[in-house]
Symmetry: C2
Subunit: 199 residues, 2 copies
């Protein structure tokens, strides 16, 4: 049994997309961070860091986008989201996700100028149609961040031809359209990055 | 042929330790970031982000600590640094490394008070002897960061009994002692986090 805790439009969207991609049944529970539900004791008992996404696997908590995507991709190899058997390609998928989580994700919170500089590095990193070979969990992670950035105030599209084309390719996937439909119906509460301590 | 580019005492130490752990032959090339060697054109041609560690695999560049550790652990399964066959344990290793790269690593640059708050989350996350089951690449990554924090100005050891005991367990490993010996002989130039743009 899988349960996803998410905020519509936030980082958890990547996990939400991956769940539809692999086709496993799951229960989706949305939190409101404007109501600070992520700081309520019942939620901190599941995830002391007070972040989303959180995936419960038969009640056992798993946090961090990269980890949830990796788990789902490995559990459902038929979905083709992980380059089985190719160690270097696997390492590049992990490299992309680490770069996205550590460098790109905090970029937007540091202002539009910094964000444009960071996404210029992502634009240069994207050499081909997909982040690594064929469509993988790295593309889901990249899509979610750039999708958000491309809808932020002050976004200047010049200089991002590869990322914009990548965004459109990912937007065409049924799993992505389904996620956006479900999350938009709840209503986006996109906000600035909230540090894990909730400070 | 493997070549590691590193700065003594920096994040690249984790990759350096993993290379000694798996026992593959490699060439180690130290950079000086005080001389800004990471911004020189020959280095940016290999790694446009200007960061370490960088691992060249037969000349092909691989960046990000988590990715290099994953590659080495998967390439040398006999070293036992990756929980082969256990999908949930694998996901937890990835979760730790993502948490370390995105939340813990930038902590120190944001001042000692913030760092102590972030490491309190890491202390709570560490439930047992090792991060996930047996010694893994997550422990190498965690060790490097906490080792650095525990030697930083203003570090208060109270409140970190599990992380301090973990540090001592990892310090006892021959691969770790060897790395510290090699890097100390070159000389540490530990500095604050340098953003990937070099700004």
């Amino acid at each position: 049994m899988l349960t996803l805790y998410f905020w519509p439009g936030s980082s958890s969207m990547a996990a939400h997309i991956a769940l539809y991609e692999v086709g496993l049944p799951f229960e989706a529970r949305s939190l409101s961070f404007q109501k600070r539900e992520q700081r309520e004791p019942w939620y901190l008992a599941l995830n002391p860091e007070g972040t989303v996404p959180l995936l419960l696997i038969d009640g056992r908590p798993l946090t961090e986008v990269a980890a949830i995507l990796h788990y789902l991709a490995k559990r459902c190899p038929e979905a083709g989201l992980w380059p089985e058997g190719d160690l270097e390609a696997q390492a590049h998928v992990i490299s992309w996700m680490s770069f996205l989580a550590a460098s790109v994700h905090p970029g937007l919170a540091r202002g539009p100028e910094h964000a444009h500089r960071i996404y210029a590095l992502a634009e240069r990193r994207l050499q081909d149609t997909w982040a690594v070979g064929s469509y993988s969990i790295a593309d889901i992670h990249l899509f979610r961040l750039f999708w958000r950035f491309s809808h932020s105030e002050g976004f200047i599209p010049d200089g991002f031809p590869k990322l914009l084309a990548h965004r459109e390719r990912v937007l065409a996937r049924p799993a992505v359209r389904k996620t956006i439909e479900v999350e938009a119906a709840i209503g986006y509460e996109i906000s600035r990055f909230i540090p894990p301590t909730g400070a």
